[in-house]
Symmetry: C2
Subunit: 148 residues, 2 copies
DNA sequence: ATAACTGCAAAACGTTTGCGTGTAT
DNA sequence: ATACACGCAAACGTTTTGCAGTTAT
């Protein structure tokens, strides 16, 4: 009904897009806000959220789903997956795997009209592995909300 | 260091566990709270959250990860996946698929110590498919926060 | 000219926590 | 008897929203 409304290219949007394209770190809205402030000191967090939402709706960027706590964003539009470190929260990219056969199977089993899937691996990143090293092995430290 | 502390079976906990086992709907904390109130009118939402957290830590239940907005809970401990309706938010169970080969491959590629993965399909459930029927085809209605 | 965008601040939302009381063990 | 759990309400972190002024088209 309402076709994609006009999308203006404003300084804030350009900056968000550039910041997102310049990193593979899948930043959160407030990380983005912090880094944008260097060039646009008056940009507000609300604007960052608003633009991330709009640009994501227009498929200029993507939101990283299932990445744990805060919402994260990604400028890589090509299909791929993610792996999240359960210790430090870091999110890295993972080569896409072809799971379309699974979707087909599922379509029959469930009656759903299957549109896609989200696949997020969980693990411990090399840095955290090294840090934990031989320190402890069975400890349930539960820390998983931190930032990179 | 701190072994699993004693876990008392209180009326609230029993009720939460029973409610969770009685449904496959993966309720949110406040849905659970609403339904608990029928039998325990004075139970508080804070208690529901506290108990879901404790019981999940003790592996009596699981939290459904990557299911979109609100956190959802599941009494089915056996490995399986989920499919979420992007129209109404409903979450259903999906047969487990063996993706361990993928985890192995990933372990070498990424350097991560891979612990597991979360796989959530997205689609349109039969009910919503029927409701939308032939109404519209390209509409971007964006509604996806509703409850079943 | 005008619809889209912005900063700001307040509100909304889901979740967690502190505190004093109650209860399962 | 005592550690654990509770209800309540306030606090928290994240995200959304209303409004009045600004800017890209």
């Amino acid at each position: 009904m309402n076709g994609p409304e006009e999308l203006r290219m404003t300084p804030a949007r350009r900056a968000i897009l550039e910041a997102l394209e310049a990193t593979h770190c899948h930043p959160t809205a407030d990380e983005l806000h912090d880094s944008l402030r260097k060039s646009l000191p008056r940009v507000s967090l609300g604007t960052v959220y608003r633009n991330l939402e709009v640009m994501s709706r227009h498929r200029l960027i993507r939101t990283v789903e299932g990445a744990g706590g805060q919402r994260r964003y990604d400028a890589v539009l090509a299909p791929h997956h993610h792996i999240r470190c359960v210790r430090c929260g870091r999110v890295d990219d993972v080569e896409p795997a072809d799971l379309s056969w699974l979707e087909g199977k599922l379509k029959e089993e469930s009656g759903y009209d299957v549109l896609g899937h989200v696949l997020v691996f969980e693990g411990i990143c090399p840095a955290c592995s090294a840090a934990e090293g031989g320190k402890e092995e069975g400890g349930d430290n539960g820390a998983q909300g931190n930032e990179n």
